[in-house]
């Protein structure tokens, strides 16, 4: 077998935190290699290094036996590596042909040679058995067709290695079948393929070899027929825990706070029902693109839903987030920097932001500075925010963990009864994680309901009373704490049980 790409001891660390450590593998020409791993296992970093957008901090890569050190995306394209991304990089306002040639049109007397590009585009499309007009606008194609146009673009660049990153997320089953047929065809032509996906049955269907990444390390590799789906799942997970979580200090009560019934929004969520009780921590688990955050946004009134019902403590709230806040809901977003905090404002200002109304003294609506200072100092003690002066210091001066405490704290001031926490511990160190978990436990112990969204299954297993699993916008399972089973939950998330 002819070796096309080899990687030796390849490593990458971001600010000292390893994302990939000592990866070594090789890929033979004309094969399909499936790469699998949980979110954060290091797949994207690896792809970035192959594609020239991430600079390795150690190790070597070899392309056709020669050292390969791409400096930017153009180097990778020149070498013959083509990417087909999950989020497509096509220009929807241009035609298929223009998308293929945008970085270098064939020209005659300075003007674009339309005849040549339509002709050549038609040839490339024919090779992929695509029969649409080269001049059709990409914006008018379906997601599946666009995916195929991306492949056409890679072929146009004479790519000998095509890397597919979660290509089927937005495709219908028929489009997926068509994509697979195309991949088979490419393989028969002698092209080499790397296929990254969370859909393990797809990996099984396509791959000759499988590589499993976990925590930035390559934990297993071998011929695909040695990997059953349970085996894949097992090698993707498997880490000890204990002492990482505070003990849950209360049992959920029987009365529900939030009841969502049959929520449907086309293209986003389908028939989702969910109940959160007083004093309960419900974990919402799903892979990236499973619809977790989208569901949270709908529950909080940020996005619309077409049909279904939401009620909070027996009443249906009016539309929009303001009404949800008044009904007692709080939403800690995933994007702490972008949405949750005003980085340049003081910690105290951030804390009082949501409940400014509560500090209006008298009818004139002039803010009562003294009660604000008093209340924020109280929060600071409760949350043990580590800052010298919360009235003066800007939020950006805090560590990630302390920032997160401020975000939770600003909601707590309004005494909400239902918290939605989206990835509350992302980018937070272990010590601060424990404090955040304790805070979450305290919210529940005081009778609040919590919907905790996370891609880290471990923290949900550690904290939740119940875990709800989503996949592609649907709820695929629900498990109570007594029956927590890591493999079953992952299977639900990867949907192998349902499929």
């Amino acid at each position: 077998m002819n070796e096309l790409l080899a990687v030796k001891n390849l490593s990458k660390a971001w600010f000292g935190v390893p994302a990939n450590s000592n990866l070594s593998f090789s890929i033979a020409q004309g094969t399909v290699t499936g790469i699998i791993g949980q979110n954060g296992a290091g797949k994207s970093t690896l792809m970035g290094m192959l594609g020239g957008t991430v600079l390795p901090s150690g190790g070597e890569m070899f392309w056709r036996g020669q050292p390969y050190q791409p400096r930017d995306a153009a180097d990778a394209i020149k070498a013959g590596i083509g990417f087909i991304h999950q989020e497509l990089n096509l220009f929807t306002n241009l035609s298929v042909a223009e998308n293929l040639y945008i970085d270098g049109f064939p020209r005659r007397m300075g003007l674009i040679d339309w005849k040549a590009i339509t002709q050549r585009t038609r040839e490339i499309l024919a090779r992929l058995d695509l029969d649409f007009d080269p001049m059709i606008q990409v914006g008018r194609l379906s997601p599946g067709e666009r995916q195929l146009v991306e492949i056409a673009r890679a072929l146009h660049n004479e790519a000998s290695l095509l890397i597919f990153d979660e290509p089927t997320t937005s495709l219908t089953p028929r489009e997926t079948e068509r994509l697979f047929a195309t991949i088979d065809g490419l393989k028969a032509e002698g092209r080499t393929i790397i296929y990254i996906s969370h859909i393990l049955s797809d990996v099984q269907r396509l791959a000759d070899r499988v590589i499993v990444l976990r925590d930035g390390k390559l934990v297993e590799q071998g011929p695909a027929d040695q990997f059953t789906i349970p085996l894949m799942i097992r090698s993707m997970i498997g880490r000890d825990m204990g002492g990482l979580f505070p003990a849950r200090s209360n049992k959920p009560q029987p009365d529900p706070i939030l009841v969502a019934q049959n929520l449907t929004q086309p293209g986003v969520v389908e028939d989702v029902s969910l109940t959160i009780h007083k004093g309960e921590i419900v974990g919402l688990f799903g892979l990236m693109g499973s619809g977790r955050t989208e569901l949270a946004r709908i529950l909080f009134g940020l996005d619309p839903f077409q049909s279904g019902r939401i009620s909070i403590e027996g009443k249906s709230p009016e539309q929009g987030p303001r009404a949800r806040i008044e009904a007692g809901m709080a939403f800690v977003t995933e994007e702490r920097r972008a949405e949750g905090l005003m980085m340049d404002a003081s910690i105290a200002e951030n804390l009082t932001l949501v409940q400014l109304d509560g500090f209006g003294a008298g009818r004139l609506g002039i803010l009562d500075r003294w009660s604000m200072v008093e209340r924020t100092e109280q929060s600071r003690t409760e949350l043990s925010i580590k800052a010298a002066n919360i009235q003066e210091q800007p939020a950006k001066a805090l560590s990630g963990g302390n920032q997160q405490k401020v975000v939770i704290g600003k909601w707590q001031i309004g005494n909400p009864r239902l918290f939605i926490l989206d990835e509350p511990t992302r980018g937070v160190d272990v010590g601060a994680k424990f404090e955040i978990y304790s805070l979450v436990d305290k919210i529940a112990a005081e009778g609040g309901g919590v919907l905790m969204i996370s891609s880290e299954l471990d923290e949900l297993l550690g904290m939740a009373d119940r875990i709800v699993v989503m996949n592609r916008g649907e709820v695929t399972g629900e498990i109570a704490r007594e029956q927590f089973d890591r493999e079953r939950i992952l299977a639900m998330a990867f949907r192998e049980v349902i499929a």
Partner: protein, 329 residues
């Protein structure tokens, strides 16, 4: 039925400028039939050429999701520099025209420098240069009126094969921009950049160079506009071109360009300019109260911008990322 109605509104939204123009022509034509005479229509086109050329340049800027507020000031300063060169160096009008275009391009390059190299947002940069360019011109003239030679007016009122020179220049620039946008690599890359900046970078396009060029072209177009307009009257006073940038931007938006980038055509800019002029002239023809005219004009521009917003929202809704296939297909 509902779907058909939606298609119809889509069609109207996508061709809103044509629909507007037709409405205006029909409405004023019924009110004052003289409005539709050949002479009056020719007058509309001639008048629209003054902002039309600048609107063509602005269309390119809008296409990259940028904005150029310094257009009015460039219209003032670039012809002024040309006028001074003509007066003191004794160069003929065509050479003066060239000086004006080059000065405009240079002023555009100053905008580009701040926007592309120093990464200041276009709105702020061109707001600053709007004052800067005008201030510089006022300093040059000490705020007095500047008189051009008689040749300048002769040029302004001349015609080629019976067509007034301003219209000829308007048509030439329009054809040039059309070819640039539709038949050159640079033009298609402007569309790509406006559609998805990040993807353009990933595809290996030289985004900085494209963006810079767009402001240079906008400056040159504004300079041509100013020069041709001044040639009609043969003199220049300190307030010339002030506020014109808004007419120009409105014309471009009316012509289908969008503040959000990625869309716009040369034909649209021409149409937009004619539309504004037709609306203005129609108000005069129908004898609408002089002081009410800006209000009516403002409403027309608002409608056009509103149509743009609706159109863009429709478009983004259509392109919104879905995480599961829509069951329809």
């Amino acid at each position: 039925m509902k779907l058909r109605l939606r298609r119809l509104t889509d069609l109207v939204l996508n061709h809103s400028s044509l629909v507007f123009l037709a409405c205006i022509l029909i409405y004023y034509g019924l009110q004052a039939p003289a409005f539709l005479s050949v002479e009056s229509l020719g007058n509309i086109v001639k008048q629209s050429s003054f902002i039309g050329v600048a609107a063509l340049g602005t269309t390119l800027v809008l296409m990259t999701a940028g904005i150029d507020l310094s257009v009015g000031a460039v219209m003032f300063l670039a012809p002024l520099v040309a006028g001074m060169a003509m007066k003191h160096l004794g160069i003929p009008v065509p050479a003066g025209f060239l000086v004006s275009v080059l000065t405009g391009a240079l002023l555009g390059a100053i905008n580009a420098l701040f926007i592309v190299k120093l990464r200041v947002v276009p709105f702020i940069v061109t707001l600053a240069t709007m004052f800067l360019f005008r201030g510089f011109g006022i300093w040059l003239t000490s705020s007095t009126q500047f008189d051009f030679s008689e040749d300048m007016r002769r040029f302004g009122l001349s015609s080629l094969f019976g067509i007034p020179t301003p219209i000829v220049i308007f048509a030439l620039v329009a054809v040039l921009i059309y070819v640039l946008l539709n038949h050159t690599q640079f033009g298609r890359q402007i569309y790509a950049l406006g559609n998805d900046r990040e993807a353009a970078r990933k595809a290996g396009l030289k985004t900085a160079r494209i963006e810079a060029a767009v402001y240079v072209i906008s400056g040159a177009c504004a300079a041509i506009s100013g020069f041709v307009m001044i040639a009609q009257i043969g003199r220049l006073d300190a307030g010339f071109g002030e506020g014109r940038e808004f007419d120009v931007i409105a014309a471009a938006i009316l012509g289908g360009a969008s503040f959000f980038g990625g869309v716009g055509t040369a034909f649209g800019a021409v149409l937009g300019a004619i539309l504004i002029q037709a609306a203005k002239l129609g108000l005069v023809f129908t004898g609408v109260n002089l002081y009410l005219q800006p209000v009516v004009l403002g409403m027309i521009i608002f409608l056009a911008v509103f149509a743009d917003a609706v159109r863009t929202r429709r478009l983004t809704n259509k392109l919104k990322r879905t995480i599961r296939p829509l069951t329809r297909s």
